[in-house]
Symmetry: C2
Subunit: 157 residues, 2 copies
DNA sequence: TGTTAGTCCGACCTTATTGATCGGAGATCA
DNA sequence: TGATCTCCGATCAATAAGGTCGGACTAACA
């Protein structure tokens, strides 16, 4: 349950790899092409290409055409959150259908729905978690993840 | 992204309803049948029936056959966690495919996989969240949800 | 300046999962 | 014994996910 899609998996791997090619926080760094990533991680080339296109469209990476072309991070690794990556690929976070209902559209169960409020709170907590973790945190062996409580102070792990 | 299934939604609604019929923490309380729940929340009867069967099989509720039969909570509301409910319906928590790999089976990307460790930590955090929230917490208007950091102290919200 | 390696982009197909339905067997109580 | 309920398995349709294909466009380099 609560699985993320393979495409999202691929996106994370690819971004981590592209970020690693930009060693030392230097921007811009080495340009990485689709083939290199696909072979490194055994990802179907065409599928990965589509994932990278999507990421580029969402301004997480920049594409460079032509020979010696490829992808580079559009921002620094610590400015890209996991939430941004996942939402680029899978759309907005929403553990339940009625998460994004505009005024006027209701789910069939709405009138007597007893679980909407608590579920939205769970969702908020997950959103916080993903928003507070960046690509930088996923790099290297360095420890990561802070759980941020709404009343502040993150807890180093 | 990270959506839970409709079946899981139905399970949560149904359990909340059954729990509500056991007012005052008295065990056992009023027996609730499938039809009553289905009509109350506009859930397809047959589908709900299957969901309830699954919950019964996982010992979250008890079924009583025959006329005036129906379902009752198998334990008290504060002893049933959201994680247990969701896992009954959707299987074990696993945001990524390789979450439950036994020794010997690896995903294609395993050898160079750079995201496994961080993702597992995210997963742990979500698991904690769902394990610390019970059916009881979903009842009534009472505030709920604690985010528990691994280094202890829950933070009341 | 033309060729070529590479990205870009959209349409398409295939398969797995989810949501939903149906029919009958077994249990219980009036 | 009959009516009412749960139980259980098989089945089907709709949707989303995973993966593929072909053509257009761009930029480096000979």
């Amino acid at each position: 349950m609560l699985k993320i899609s393979k495409k999202a998996d691929y996106a994370l791997m690819a971004l981590q790899h592209i970020a690693a090619a930009q060693f030392g926080d230097m921007m811009p760094g080495r340009v990485v092409n689709t083939k290199e990533i696909a072979e490194e991680y055994n990802i179907p080339l065409e599928l990965l290409a589509k994932v990278l296109q999507t990421l580029a469209k969402n301004a997480l990476i920049e594409s460079h055409n032509g020979p010696k072309g490829g992808y580079v991070l559009a921002r620094r690794a610590h400015q890209i959150t996991i939430a941004q990556i996942l939402e680029s690929i899978e759309g907005p976070l929403g553990i339940t259908d009625c998460s994004h209902e505009k005024d006027g559209e209701f789910c069939m169960q709405r009138e007597h729905c007893n679980i909407r409020t608590p579920l939205l709170k769970v969702q908020d907590s997950i959103a916080q978690l993903l928003n507070n973790m960046t690509l930088q945190d996923m790099m290297g062996g360095t420890p990561l993840i802070t759980i941020q409580s709404p009343t502040a102070q993150g807890v180093e792990r």
